[in-house]
């Protein structure tokens, strides 16, 4: 599974980096950023799904790796 943030939608609410600090960080203006290559280790799938489900802007995608 791989995470991606749609930067057009992200408004910097920060729910992703609150709920899944191992997967997301913030930039200098508080917008969410996917850490590293966005690949979600099996041990962090729950946090990844929580972040997706709590983003008020529906800005996070969690897709099967192609």
């Amino acid at each position: 599974m791989k995470l991606r943030i749609d930067s057009e939608r992200c408004q910097g609410h920060g729910r992703c980096y609150d709920l899944a600090p191992g997967l997301f960080g913030d930039d200098d203006e508080g917008y969410g950023q996917v850490l590293g290559d966005g690949v979600v280790p099996a041990s962090q799938e729950h946090e990844a799904r929580l972040a997706v489900a709590n983003c008020p802007e529906h800005a996070i995608e969690l897709a099967e790796e192609s």
Partner: protein, 424 residues
């Protein structure tokens, strides 16, 4: 330029000469006949319990109408609130306080208190000036001082059996934090409270009173600007005085308007969120005991308090005549953009009317949606979390002393203003 002459004489006179007057409408107060056709967020029934009014409207008339305030609309479904928040093409932020005065169209896209009053594309640039100071990382630096201050407020209760958690605790926390960030004297707190009430609750006062009260706020802010010009320091006021946009320093009205925004919006919103959360816990022993014994639930609990008791309602002005979701909107009609109503829409939230402190999925809109997401949301969340942590650690058992004596603010920011709690 070595001497900053932007604030040398009263810039407001020049600005007033430049801009056309706005429009005023007849002030209508008194009991509401039917909430679907005559709503008012300034009447006591609304202050006491807006939720049952909004829940009823959502079922029978999802977009309510009023002829008060020169005409306006109140959408109550999450879907409609979100659509308007996202649609900056058709809904302007040039005034975000629904009242009896509409500023002139020429004030857009900047508005009186950028960036909350700004429309794209200017909005984004004005907002970018503020974002770095309000990231989660930046506000974390305020946390130790906030925690110590919360403890000092509880120390000052000094063995009383009954304390006013709104007046003696909740209100002081955001006042102190924002005064520190802006570099205003901490002892000016009581004046801030007056400014907040004047701005947000004095809506239906006669125009001259309202103007006099707003003038007092801007006089105070200008005093602070002059103090910072004389003695620059590392705070948001000096930052705004020095900030540049498009290669120039900011207009004086921009500097002072943004200071007004940070002061007003930074205070009563968080004050309300802290107070409403304590009110809920005081009357819900199960949640109180669970949260006191399992502080690990605080993150989901604070999000749930923000959803269920979202303090902030915004406003927009319709840009042009149009049919929107089946209603005929006219240019300059108000939209009362109720994030609290959106947050209790059963189409968006399971058990929307219940407070569930371990709710896992909570896509609430307490801080707004879209480009105007509350710039202080990370600060507000920190203050709310620390305020509740310290309170529960120090005072794990408390109840509402006299439920009938709890009072709530009217208008667009809702929270307890008097909240007597029995703490021992």
């Amino acid at each position: 330029m070595t001497i900053d002459d932007r604030f040398a004489q009263d810039y407001r006179d020049a600005r007033e000469a430049e801009l056309p007057y706005g429009t005023r409408n007849e002030i209508v107060t008194g009991p509401v006949a039917d909430w679907a056709t005559d709503f008012s967020h300034l009447e006591p029934e609304w202050a006491a319990d807006p939720y049952s009014i909004q829940d009823d409207l959502r079922q029978r008339c999802p977009i309510a109408r009023t002829e008060r305030f020169g005409g306006g609309w109140l959408p109550t479904r999450y879907e409609d609130v979100a659509a308007i928040a996202y649609d900056t093409d058709r809904f302007s932020s040039r005034s975000i306080i629904m009242g009896n005065f509409r500023p002139p169209r020429e004030i857009a896209p900047v508005g009186g208190s950028p960036p909350i009053s700004s429309d794209p594309p200017f909005h984004r640039d004005a907002r970018r000036l503020l974002l770095p100071a309000f990231t989660k990382t930046a506000v974390t630096r305020q946390e130790p001082a906030t925690r110590a201050f919360c403890h000092s407020l509880i120390d000052a209760f000094d063995g009383q059996d009954v304390v006013d958690a709104a007046r003696d605790y909740a209100q002081h926390i955001p006042m102190r934090v924002i005064a520190d960030m802006l570099g205003f004297p901490p002892q000016d707190g009581p004046r801030f409270r007056q400014f907040v009430e004047n701005t947000l609750e004095g809506i239906n006062l006669p125009p001259d009173d309202r103007i006099a009260r707003m003038t007092a706020l801007f006089d105070y802010l200008l005093e602070q600007v002059h103090d910072h010009l004389a003695t620059p320091r590392d705070d948001l006021t000096s930052y705004l005085i020095d900030a540049e946009l498009y290669g120039h320093k900011l207009e004086p009205s921009h500097v002072v308007g943004t200071m007004a925004l940070l002061l007003i919006a930074g205070i009563d919103t968080t004050w309300s969120a802290i107070g409403a959360s304590l009110w809920h816990l005081a009357r819900t022993p199960g949640d109180r005991q669970r949260l006191a014994s399992e502080p690990g639930l605080l993150p989901t609990a604070t999000e749930e308090f923000l959803r269920a008791y979202a303090p902030v309602t915004m406003a927009r002005l319709v840009k042009e005549d149009m049919t929107w979701q089946g209603v005929e909107m006219k240019a300059d009609d108000w939209i009362l953009l109720s994030f609290p109503a959106a947050n209790r829409d059963p189409a968006q939230f399971d058990r929307a009317g219940d407070v569930i402190i371990d709710r896992q999925v909570n896509r609430h809109a307490a801080f707004g949606l879209g480009v105007h997401r509350c710039v202080g949301s990370h600060l507000a969340r920190m203050e709310l979390r620390v305020a509740l942590e310290v309170w529960l650690e120090r005072i794990p058992e408390f109840t509402v002393a006299e439920p009938a004596a709890v009072t709530w603010s009217a208008g667009q920011i809702r929270g307890p203003r008097s909240l007597q709690l029995r703490v021992r």
